[in-house]
Amino acid sequence: MGFLAPWFLAALAGLGLPVYIHLLRRHTTTPRLVSSLMFFERGTQSSTRHRRLRYLLLFSLRALLLLLLALAFAGPFIRRPSSATSDRLLVVVIDNSFSMRAGRHLEDAKQEAMRLLATRSASQRAQVMVLGAELQVLTQPIEDARALRAAVEGIRPGDSHGSFGELGRGMRALSETVHTPIDLHLFSDMQASNMPGNFADMVMPGNVALILHPVSKENLPNWTVESVEAPAQLSDPKKAHVVAVIVGHHTPVAARLVSLVINGVVSATRTVNVPADGRTTVAFDSLDVPYGVSREEIKIDSADSFSADDAICFAVKRADPERTLFVHQGSDSRSPFYFGAALGATGQASFVLQAIDANQAADIDPAQYAFVVLSDVDSIPSILENSLKRYVESGGGVLIAAGTSTARRRKLPLLGESVDQPRYYSQAGGYATVGRVDDASPMMKDSSGWGDTKIFYASAVQPGQARVVSRLSDGTPFLLDYSVGQGHVVVFSSGIDNVTNDLPLHPAFVPFVDHVARYLSGSERLSGMRVVDTFVQLRSPVGEGVSNPSAVDVVAPDGSRPLTLQEEATMQTLRLVQAGFYQIRYPNGREVLLAVNPDRRESDLQSIPDDVLRLWSEGASGASRVNSASDAADQSKRSVYKLWWWVMLFLLIAAVMESIVASRYLGTQREEV
């Protein structure tokens, strides 16, 4: 026990006051002579004893009052041993990542967690969390065993990719609010792929003692479909083919039967030999899917304890080639030629180019086209421009090639962005090259050949709010992406010909056109395969004053609707948390089917080596020792329990009792007077 302000104890000298009043002063009473004590004897003694007792009680209360007052100011405290079990917070974290579906890993983890909770003392607070791609808190720190048990029992297997880095971050956040020692029990398969890139991310804070409960001691063999390459949209099934990669983790050489399942029906099978702990490729030459959107699956026969990863699903849309409107100057015949050739050379050939002179395009309805290209037009009919604006705002896509003609107009159509100081690199006797490329953009997925292109002319477009996807070597924006309403306008600051640049002559032009076409038509965004825990954009950010009352309609793989009505009207992105097919109907009426698969890193069931696990668990407690001789002792210092509330409570009680006893005594004296 100690005192925060011990100098206030000097006030205890005030105890002399009641001592004087009750003991010293009372002894100075002058004896009175009486003839006889005959009538005082019997009753007097007990009464006096009672009186003396009351005096002593009053004296004790007054002395206690002063004592407590001095103690309250002195701030007494006690140190509670930090190792007291009831003071430690028990945190139970159960890994429910996709790999926990292997064997009985999750069931074993839950049973072990239940056993741990059963051995907990009733007064110890505990908290249950679940670890997937992020740390999810299921209960607050509580003592209710029933609620804790229910939380553990309610944990369902997830499809996420686990991350021990998230666990470390979560514990660091928790330790900022919970200052008591934390016993963290992690029930997991300790999958090596769950480790973050930086080991420091998973190190626990000083007051967290990490206790690991591996549910799997060995590296289970597991075959899985690692990846599938298939067109998201096709028009000719015979031209489409599907390539799948079958991989075995810790597996012997084995022959696996691979099946292509279309809408639940096995369409084709292949037998492949998978080398030991290796991978092999299997190809299906045709994809005979019916018109519309189909649900496909590449599946291998189940031969291991982790059957959940034996298939990869994907969606394919079969439709006639979509038309693309290509608006150009009447004098320009190179642009539609190069663009149309590149568009036709793409694997799926899902688009058909319809080139038209800008002067004849007034009556065209852009809504009938997958996307629109404005190829270096100096002017377009105002009717078409208005139609294009509405088209873009409702979700359409437009590619503007800003060649020399656009520079003369000094303003971009649709956008109104100014174009100034055109860059004529050829006049300087040279050319520019592509300097920087934003690989994250879906339009630049295959930009390997862009470095060899020669740019002779570029319009200097003011980027404004646009995303600059590519810049030239002198910093001039080369490819810009504007978000307008629900749609996109992509500006290519040169021409689509071989005059202002030689890109159309390079092989990189075909994939560029392919990706731009898919991006602007929305098929890139609205189809294909996704990974669990990625996000899909439901709508573009709504600008101020722009109303967007239309709602999206999302149906999860299990048939549920993950969004509330309000969220359907307002949410801009959706996190894909389940594996399977998501059906999404966008505000513009377009319906898509998204195939969502778990992260294939979850299929490698290799555990973290024991020495790393030891380093991790000991590092947590070791860190606390290292971080401070101060921190460990800290811990005991931090568990100081202040007693001044109790002192004040006793002070109040003593004051009330003193008032009662003193008022009775003083009341007696008043009666005598």
């Binding site: 002579l33 003839s35 005082f40 007097t44 005598e672």
Partner: protein, 295 residues
């Protein structure tokens, strides 16, 4: 003259003889309208002679005039000698004002001696006692008896404790003549024990009168704060709280006084309570009026 009968005033007078004279003269002067008063053997009635009556009491003059034989009877025929037993224990020293109980007892005794010897020519004696007989002056009517008695009163200083047994045993040895025995004390003992001890005095045919002298503070003590009380006789100390003195003590004192009255009446003793702030003439008149021969 009446103001001199106030005990506080009398306390300023030195000399018991003067005090006694002042009291008695003042007292008698105030009673001129009551001629049939006193200890004297006064005529009471005639009674016809019957066989066996003492011939000395026959009124021969009446027999000579009327030839009838009558006996002459006197009221004071049972009275004769006065013996005062004065308690001189320490408790008599107590006094809450100018006159202590001992002083008051001396005044009473002196006044009675003065009445008996000076006015009535009766023999008077004094026995001063505490737990022993400290002084005894035989009843007598000799010259100078009054002075000897007053001197005995002067010398009676309170000391020791009260014990009625020895003095009364001693007195019974010398009490060979009927008379009046007056006991002046504060009677701090149980009424039963007091009555039982004093009652044998009546067997000699004496009339026994108890003068119970108490201070007003003893009847209604005023204790305003818890106090330590010291017994004058035993020197025992006791702490007393006001509410006890105001309640339980008074009940016990009242019960004691009532017990004294009841036990005295039962034993054929005359009992008078004298409070020391009470004027002496009132005390005397209370006694003399109430006496059978005083009316």
């Amino acid at each position: 003259m009446q103001r001199f009968l106030d005990p506080a005033v009398l306390a300023g007078i030195s000399g018991l003889d003067l005090i006694a004279k002042t009291v008695v003269d003042g007292f008698v002067a105030g009673l001129h309208r009551s001629p049939d008063f006193g200890f004297s053997q006064e005529f009471a009635e005639y009674r016809a002679y019957t066989t066996g009556d003492d011939l000395r009491h026959v009124d021969w003059n009446l027999f000579a005039r009327t030839d009838r034989c009558y006996l002459k009877r006197y009221r004071g025929e049972t009275n004769g000698q006065l013996t005062i037993l004065l308690d001189a224990s320490n408790s008599m020293k107590f006094g809450s004002h100018a006159v202590s109980k001992m002083d008051y007892a001396r005044y009473i005794a002196a006044s009675l001696f003065y009445l008996a010897i000076h006015n009535q020519r009766d023999p008077a004696g004094l026995l001063v006692f505490d737990d022993e007989v400290r002084n005894y002056i035989r009843p007598s009517t000799r010259q100078g008896q009054l002075h000897r008695l007053l001197a005995g009163l002067e010398q009676a200083e309170p000391m020791a404790r009260t014990d009625f047994t020895k003095p009364l045993t001693h007195l019974q040895e010398f009490l060979n003549r009927r008379g009046m025995v007056v006991i002046i004390s504060d009677f701090y003992d149980s009424p039963e024990a007091i009555a039982k001890t004093i009652e044998p005095l009546r067997f000699h045919g004496s009339e026994v009168v108890l003068f119970h002298v108490l201070d007003p503070q003893e009847i209604k003590p005023q204790i305003r704060a818890p106090s330590i009380l010291v017994d004058l006789e035993t020197e025992q100390k006791l702490e007393v709280i006001p509410e006890y003195a105001r309640g339980e003590y008074r009940r016990r004192m009242d019960a004691h006084l009532q017990g004294m009255r009841d036990q005295s009446r039962a034993a054929g003793l005359d009992y008078y309570l004298l409070v020391t702030d009470q004027p002496l003439d009132e005390a005397l008149s209370q006694y003399l009026y109430l006496r059978p021969g005083g009316r």
